[in-house]
Amino acid sequence: MQRIGVFVCHCGTNIAATVDVKAVAEALSHEPGVVISQDYQYMCSESGQNLVKDAIKEHKLTGVVVCSCSPRMHENTFRKAAASVGLNPYLVEIANIREQCSWIHKDIATATDKAVILGKAAVAKVHLNAPLTAGESPVAKRALVIGGGIAGIQTALDIAEAGFDVDIVEKKSTIGGKMAQIDKTFPTLDCAACILTPKMVEASQNEHITIHSFSEVSEVKGFVGNFTVTIKKKARYVDEVKCTGCGACVEKCPMKKVPNEFNEGLDNRHAVYIPFAQAVPKVATIDPNYCMMLKNGKCGICSKVCTAGAIDYKQQDRFIEQKYGAIIVATGFNPINLDKYDEFAYNQCPDVVTSLELERLMNAAGPNGGTLLRPSDKTHPHTIVFVQCVGSRCDDEKGKPYCSKICCMYTAKHAMLIREKYPDTEVYVFYIDVRTPGKNFDEFYRRAVEQYNVHYIKGMVGKVTPKSDGKIDVQASDLLSNEQLHINADMVVLAAAIEPDKTARPLATMLTTQMDTNDFFTEAHPKLRPVESATAGIFLSGACQGPKDIPETVAQASAAAAKAIGLLVKNSITCNPCVAHSDELLCNGCSSCEKVCPYGAITYQDKEFRMPDRTTAIRRVASVNPAVCQGCGACTVACPSGAMDLNGFSNSQIMAEVDAICK
């Protein structure tokens, strides 16, 4: 038999002014199972809580209903109070008679009636409450960072700083990411390499950090605190340990006509290569698509010149398995493909380049050694046109609907750098809007206009036409002067929209994390949990979550690290006990629940059962991992047999509330 205590709070006059609290307490005292029903001035105060605690002890209560403010306010307060005197905290229910009753109604009689009904509903529910114990699950003290750009590096460094082991998985042969390709950074114009490469070195030397370069995540199992990840170490045909990065192989490799990805294909590299001088790990990689030895077995020069004996043509992909407590996604971004933009002649004219290509053209380590020359004829350009928003803010299938965020600033940077270095060059920037919300950002843009005399023209470029004399006609409308312009340019730079890396989508599936329609990872809450994914234990770092500049990326990277550390320092995690559970005797194994679970918390196993007809049968039944389940209840409705139910919000509890309200 239940022994339920009801406690009605006056909340000063907040409740008592519109609800006859004494009448509520009196009415509820007649409800089945109720052994004590009291009212009090401030139930949440210490003396109020003591009242509850004493009653629990004195009447050996099996359930408590507090009629007070919203459970969002004080549910925890009363649960703790109950727990302190030995009553399971989940045997406490709150009837919200302040926010949802006294504050919105004026007539005392009807408000009191409503408060009584809300109280009865809570009593009806608490009758069916079961004591719940939050489960615990151990945390593997190791983090995995997927992506070795600045976001991944920063996250890894911060986690390592806290003393936890971190692995970075980078699909390219070196970490560094996009930032390594960039020349200068806005708004300070300091050299990107100068600030990035020390971090790369730091990462490689940190005893807590393991870098798996030229590797990919191939399988993820498990849940928060307890992920098991298989990492595929792709064959690079060079023994990472033996290779000293001396570069002798690269120098001697006869296959020299391989487009150099690091320089955005603006020049060539060898079949065996080290992407750039400061690469980490500084280890050569053989490109099997071009290496003559790997393609037809004829060459082998690199193997001969390698004094370390690091070349291994027979190397195979290797798979390693590791346990992690937390996973941080830092897969970054890429500029979109501009093939579909015929109007900008990107595919027809080598002098129409993307901004990232311009970075390489201007970079001292780039194809031209830092001198800005036209790719077509290696002459110095005198008129350069920048086109903004190429593929950003588009409502069609060619582009992206969002603002890529970084283009306004890097274009201002480019324009400024060009005007600084080559004052004889005219620079035009065609913009739709100039968006500069950031510290020192607008000042930076104004400097480009005022100090460097960059011509900012409002209007999107309509057409870019390469001409026979090598010049490029740029046609655009100046919306402010209301005239159509034709600019006879030497170079055109397109600020291509950025998109999430293509590897992110399959990764999201493996991690059972959510993505938006643009393939950016969805954060658990857009305001309050911006670096966590909705899947517990998976955190988001950098541009994989949305377009970001470097400082924002680093900030988010550190935030994600902090969140991950917060998880890793725990020996075990307490799980929310209000989770779904499956009644195996009712489960059909149909997988409906699994399909709607946003967290991948449901798995199936074949189990042997003794059936009602006394036979035994192997049945496929669902089981919920309480550490992963967040308790949304989607599965409970998807389940036709009613095998799935939710602790704390069970079918019978909700129906009891319905019954109490409707009667």
């Binding site: 005797l585 489960c587 059909n588 194994g589 409906s592 998807a638 095998a643």
Partner: protein, 323 residues
């Protein structure tokens, strides 16, 4: 056809491919075949039937049969293959334990339709050129074949077998059926008319559970209506509400899973057009979330366990048809 099937079944039994055969067994009369499992050639020769009255969908039996030892041969009509596929998708049957022979579909006949013509004392039924010649205690009667076909065959959706190991006869095509016509007709009525229609129909329900128990989508280990813990268990409708409740919840539970095999209406002793409820869901799903045929394959995601961010709001209900 019956002979070909028996011959093939005997071959497969003999060569050990299968150890049992599920099909239909002759009855007392011309029309009362019963789904049955055969284990020997003799049983097949003696009792196996395949005729105009083998309308029953045997795929649901395979939930249990496929879990027994040895492989079973199942003769599946096109509509039955959809049910079987759906059961595979839901992991309810073990595909490897079933050898499927696709056999031609209907139209099958419904003895109740013959009896409804006032023809009684039926001793024999012959199909002569699509005229039924019916021997009765009171003389010979005739009626057109097509006036006696099963409700479920009247709006056949497909003559295609979506799964089989071998076929007897040619495979057919997915048909342009008129199966949503009645649903549409109801949708175009006023709410009061619809209410009256369904009250009239559902008030006939005797809660015999035939619709549920025959339904290949209703394979729950224990139905919520049989489970005292579910809160909605009941054994008989004590009020019109409970008549509605049972059929709404049942239709909802099979929404996105119902292959529209029509067994529910076929078996209803009170001729309640229960399939219309399921078809209403199918029609809504097709219109709101894109064409979807449950059982057409074994992998696609059911529309009810799926979503797109641009799905319509429930207010779409207010925007269409008549209130």
């Amino acid at each position: 056809m019956q002979e070909t099937m028996i011959k093939r079944a005997k071959e497969l039994l003999a060569d050990g491919t299968v150890s049992r055969v599920i099909g239909w067994k002759k009855g007392e009369f011309a029309y009362d075949t019963t789904p049955a499992v055969f284990e020997t050639a003799e049983e097949l020769d003696r009792d196996f039937a395949f005729d105009d009255f083998t309308a029953a969908n045997v795929s649901k039996y395979l939930v249990k049969e496929s879990r027994k030892e040895g492989k079973i041969l199942a003769f599946l009509k096109p509509c039955d293959t959809y049910s079987f596929n759906q059961l595979i998708k839901e992991h309810r049957v073990i595909r490897e334990n079933v050898y499927i022979i696709g056999i031609p579909g209907g139209p099958k006949l419904d003895a109740e339709k013959i009896k409804a013509k006032g023809i009684t004392g039926i001793l024999g039924i012959k199909n002569e050129n699509y005229t039924l010649k019916i021997e009765t205690l009171y003389g010979t009667e005739t009626m057109p074949f097509y006036e006696a076909i099963c409700g479920k065959c009247e709006s056949c959706k497909s003559k295609k077998h979506v799964i089989y190991d071998e076929l007897i006869g040619e495979d057919g095509d997915i048909l342009d059926s008129n199966r949503f016509d009645t649903v549409e007709k109801l949708e175009n009525m006023t709410a009061q008319e619809r209410f009256d229609f369904w009250r009239e129909q559902l008030s006939k329900c005797i809660r015999c559970n035939a619709c549920r128990n025959v339904c290949p989508a209703c394979t729950c280990e224990k139905c919520v209506f049989d489970n005292p813990k579910s809160g909605i268990e009941n054994k008989a409708a004590s009020d019109s509400f409970e008549e509605n409740l049972f059929h709404i919840i049942r239709a909802f539970h099979v929404a996105g899973r119902c292959t529209d095999c029509g067994e529910c209406s076929r078996v209803c002793p009170q001729n309640i057009p229960l399939h219309l409820l399921n078809r209403k869901f199918i029609k809504d799903i097709n219109e709101l979330y894109g064409e979807y045929q449950a059982g057409a394959d074994t992998v696609s995601r059911s529309p009810i366990t799926d979503y797109t961010p641009d799905d319509c709001e429930p207010s779409v209900v207010h925007e269409r048809g008549v209130e």
